[in-house]
Amino acid sequence: MKQVVCLKRVPDTETRIRIDGSGTSIDPSGVKYVISPYDEYALELALRTKEAAGEGTVELLSFGDTTGQETLRKGLAMGADGAVLLTGEATMDGLATAKVLAAELKGSDAPLVLFGVKAADDDQQQVGPMVAVLTDRACVTGVSSFEVSAGTVVCHREVEGGSEVVEAVLPAVLTITKGEHEPRLASLKGIMAAKKKPLEEKPAERVGSRIRVRGLSEPPARPPGRIVGEGPDAVPELVRLLREEAKAI
């Protein structure tokens, strides 16, 4: 079975985010970029599915500028078979991104297309289900594990206060969340092999953004906190502050 995994290049989660002079984007200098964490979980599940079946391919798809090559090579080093980079400028408009990816995926016969549940930069949590609608595929979101059987995929997902087992007909889009399987690290052999794997680059369809960023700002600073005291003797004062000052209890 053929699987496609959509990967986004995002700043490492440890990175300090600085806003640039324009006030509408971040300063990329000194930022380390990685595969968005949930996309790595998606890739891990795709690779495990392929390994369990003993056949099939895992293709990567990304939309962004040419630096995305590096991100895709990392995915190839983890074990994917090939990659496509659609070059263009990804914006905060997730529907525009979804249209770009859908234009590529419409022609694909892949029974499974996997996304991260959300990208670790804009945190929009939307591109996967949008692509599903645009390409007329079934869609299950927030999937932590899945099993494919004849014509369907059975997914486990978390919901408030419990979990669900959901069945979707193929072809399907799944958005993947953190589950039991940590993403593998690329081996040296994998890194060498990745250099020879096909990575196709082509211009993305042009879709304008209809979300305009007025400005980015630092998170509102939390008023300086205080150490109430040391050890259990500080508890009565903490409780008083929570009650009288914070009105939290």
Binding site: I19, A98, Q125, P129, G162, R214, P219, G225, P232
Partner: protein, 329 residues
């Protein structure tokens, strides 16, 4: 038309708190635009009996789509009913809660209506007739102010950020039976599993008692359960990723960048160092308390109140004091 539509959510037949918050917010936004708020509720036959309550939170009218196939969330059917309702009306904005349901539903609705979507908003205001959305990006390390250049403006709203304001107004409830055909559905729920005995989910709790690696052993969670119980029914347990990865706690409890984003009234971090990925999930909590034996732990940088000390001494005392306080109320 300057009206604002709310997609309200029920769980176990009851309108959720998050839906009330969004309704109150919508009433305010609609007022600034010169219109009124309307609500759409989807549910089982008889769902309308619960709907009237939304009037008190600001919905002038409440339309209830009743169908037995809508008793629980089904993405395709819900999206289809919402889209037909939005098309039949004339709304400048459509708002829904950014709950598990809302996060699944909103992008489907956006793609079907061909309008962009801003998710998980923490701010919404009308500036000279334009709706301006504020939402966290980079896991809360920055906030973006956005304008959506399309109508209706479609936004999902982070729970627990806006307050639900109850008035004595009443909304006009109308009921209709939508066309729903389960034979066309591409997904179906085979099984729903309830987590441990109906306790509050961490994403919806007003108080969170959260434990990290400093707890030393999963068996020590009885200490945190004791504190949670003392705090009352709106309290839930949370966890850092370190203890989830160690298998001490279920992933559904994890707070942070690869877990849940929470904004309770009170977040108590116990034996949690405060890694940047943990802070991403809880830094917008109203009040943060940290209990940690290391005075230089980064959690103290975001905590409103901190106690430096051994959690095994501090937590039992805290539970005792809170219980005494509640008993005196």
């Amino acid at each position: 038309m300057p009206n604002v539509l709310v997609i309200a959510e029920t769980r176990d037949g009851k309108v959720t708190g998050a839906s009330r918050e969004v309704t109150s917010l919508a009433a305010g936004v609609a007022k600034s635009l010169g219109g009124h708020a309307e609500a759409l509720l989807l549910g089982d036959v008889g769902a309308s009996s619960e709907a009237g309550g939304l009037g008190r939170f600001g919905a002038a009218t409440i339309a209830v789509a009743e169908h037995e196939a809508l008793a629980s969330y089904q993405p395709e059917a819900y999206a289809q009913v919402v889209v037909s309702h939005v098309r039949a009306g004339d709304y400048s904005a459509v708002l829904l809660p950014a709950t598990t349901l809302g996060k699944d539903l909103a992008p489907r609705v956006a793609a079907l209506l061909d309008v962009p979507l801003a998710t998980d908003a923490t701010g919404l205001e009308v500036d000279g007739g334009t709706v301006v959305v504020e939402r966290p990006v980079y896991a809360g390390k920055a906030f973006a102010r956005l304008e959506i250049e399309a109508t209706p403006v479609l936004v999902s709203i982070r729970p627990n950020v806006f307050s639900a304001t109850e008035t004595d107004a009443e909304g006009a409830v109308s009921t209709f039976t939508p066309d729903v055909d389960p034979s066309t559905w591409k997904v179906k729920v085979l099984e729903r599993l309830q987590a441990t005995g109906g306790t509050t989910d961490v994403a919806e709790a007003s108080i969170i008692v959260s434990g990290g690696r400093g707890m030393k052993d999963p068996s020590n969670w009885n200490l945190l359960e004791g504190l949670r119980d003392a705090m009352g029914s709106g309290a839930a347990l949370g966890a850092s990723r370190a203890v989830v990865d160690a298998g001490w706690r279920p992933h559904s409890d994890q707070v942070g960048q690869t877990g849940k984003t929470v904004a309770p009234t009170l977040y108590i971090a116990i034996g949690i160092s405060g890694a940047i990925q943990h802070l991403a999930g809880m830094r917008t909590s109203k009040t943060i308390v940290a209990i940690n034996k290391d005075p230089s732990a980064p959690i103290f940088n975001v905590a409103d109140y901190g106690i430096v000390g051994d959690l095994f001494e501090v937590v039992p005392r805290l539970t005792e004091e809170i219980s005494a306080l509640k008993a005196g109320d």
